[in-house]
Amino acid sequence: MQQSLDIALIGNPNTGKSTIFNGLTGMKQKISNYPGVTVERKVGRMTIDGTEHRVIDLPGTYSLNHKKVDEKITYQTLIGEFEHERSPDLAMVILDASNLDRNLYLATQVMDLGIPMIVVLNMMDIAEDRGLGVDPERISETLGVPVVPVVGKRRKDIEKLRQAVAGHDLSRPEPLRWQSDDAMNSAIEMITEKWLESYTDLPPQSHPIEALRLISDNQLSDAFKNHPDRGKADEIVAEARKLIENNGGNPSADEVLARYNFIEQCTDGQEDESAGEDTLTDKIDAVVTHKVAGPVIFVGILMVMFQAIFSWAEPFMNMIDLIFVQAGNWLSTTLPPGMLNDLLVEGVVAGLGGVVIFLPQIMFLFLFISILEGTGYMARAAFVMDGVMTKIGLHGRSVVPLISGFACAIPGIMATRTIDNWRDRFITIMVLPWMACSARLPVYALMIAAFIPDQTLLGFFGLQGLTFFGLYFFGIVMAVLAAVLIKQFFPTGEQTPFMMELPSYKMPKWSDVFKNMFERGWVFVTQAGKIIIAISIVLWFLASFPEVEVPQDVQQAQTTTETSFNAQTSPESYKLKNSYAGMLGQAMEPVIAPLGFDWKIGIGLITSFAAREVVVGTLNTIYSVEGDGEVVTLQQKLINDVDPETGEPVFTTLTALSLMIFFALAMQCMSTLAIVKRETNTWKWPIVMFVYMTAFAYLCSLLTFQVGTALGYG
């Protein structure tokens, strides 16, 4: 009978780690965020000979030196410091056999921790094709741990790994076998005894690597920044560094160099010569990273992708919409009328529909992203675009998420996961909702058709079209300005490390691609979905309560044909006006009046927090437009609406402009906030996003309306 093990998968990025994880655990996986940080945590289960083991897929990392958050999590999980989880029973270190030197570096670090381990040489087929002469036995002898050569895509090789787990005697590797320098050894001992053992509660197996990190790091590492006795640590580390220096060594470099010297004993450093030339990758790269062809190809790919999330997803979205409308209708006629009926139909079903509607866009986008990542192209796109993007404080990898934002901010924000640097990812998330998403289109369309004159400028440019373009362009400009601004708040120098590997091209494993696609959809529905449904119910409540008696004269009134507007012409309109949402809208009027908005728009602003396009439906209700989506009628009613006191029209071209600018900038999308919460793993950032975007929207609308009025365009 075998014991149940915790097995950690560790490896560099692009080593096929997730393919092996999927192969080992199949569908038995759970995805969540690590508490307090933005790194995703994947845990799966696999059964070997009736014993169930837990497999933890740790973030891909090049080093355990934990300068980056995902390295830190990997390291802390391995030493059993993370959230009081115990250290794994077995570490499976996955190496790219076609790129051994750099991959072995991480393996030597894991060895220092003394965790029982298996080295997996993945992509052996590629290494053999390139004639690299990888020798698993020699590596196994040098490292003193079992080494399993595999091709992770092959089912029988996954079986080999399962057997290696079953057959492992859980003996610990000899740590520090690469260490030859006496001065270095004494320095490690000194720090271990005088500092780590006496002043910290770090587990003993982490002491050697912790000591090395303190030696190579000129400043005392982050972990001890707030330590009460850090002055003491400073002294000891300085002393240890001095010891190495006096011996003619370089404390910052010696550890890394010693590890590479050790590694070269396993590999002969064979890659120096022409062996291992990857001619296919060279040929493809000559085209796709070409100075002229590269950007053109990238734009082409973006256009196809954009088309997919914008147009191809639409029939699916309409279908989902139809299904939920039908379900709502069925439910409302089947259940006895009353509050429960309303809650279920207008709160729960509508909220659920509002969640599921995003799935087509999310899945289409992630189909593309998984393919682009899986083939290795994504890194090239980032390489080509990085020059432009760093100018505005972003990363080459920010382009794909930002462009996706034109269709919908939600998949765009989820796509920022491909940016591995937190600062760049954070800024991209924060400015992304200013890309004009498709939910703004119905609002723009309604307002432009009603209030922007259908004229041409210079006999060629349609004024309405120009307004459309202007609004899109305005969003981009604001996003760029915001990116530059937010960057100022980050103290970490002018640039973050880029150092991006350009992996060899390969065919993606299609089952991994589709799995990733469904996984993203599932993460959205389960993790953002509950927030969205909760807010939907609150909004439903605001718009439906308190229940009021509709007066007799309103009940009898027919659709108005008068030109002067009377807001109380239908029972629905009357109810909405007297609901909490209506009261709020009216209470808001003094605040939004300087923007040119009246209470009716106020109600629209409240309900449009569910999603921007909802404002059209709300205005339909307020203006008692018969039937849903009668945009032409609504347009006419908006144009005809006059202020009962002054007799002036409520809407002018200027009001419409002010309103569109507000919609261009304000954060009116609970689903975006819900996904930002999920992706940043805190409520802080969605709240900041809501406040700063809405404040900017207010300011810009105010400016538009007031300056416009002063210039006599009112």
């Binding site: 090049y62 390489f383 020059g387």
Partner: protein
């Protein structure tokens, strides 16, 4: 003749002489150790980042990172 990699971005091969600066440890961890052969494969449309080949794999570096590398 040694110079900074950031000043020698024309495609071609050279040898790493020294690594210094803020990103030194990380660059060495990625396998850019003194004595290694390093090949500039190409540059991005705006001049940076550059694509280099080291220890048999491709890595892209921004200007600030290329400045940390002295080659001969």
């Amino acid at each position: 003749m040694s110079s900074l990699l950031s000043e020698r971005t024309d495609p071609g091969t050279s040898r790493i002489k020294d690594i210094s600066g803020p990103e030194a440890v990380r660059l060495m961890e990625m396998g850019l150790t003194p004595g290694r052969k390093i090949e500039v494969v190409r540059t991005a449309p705006m001049g940076f980042p550059i694509e280099i080949k080291v220890r048999g794999y491709l890595l892209s570096l921004r200007e600030s990172e290329a400045k940390c590398i002295t080659v001969e």
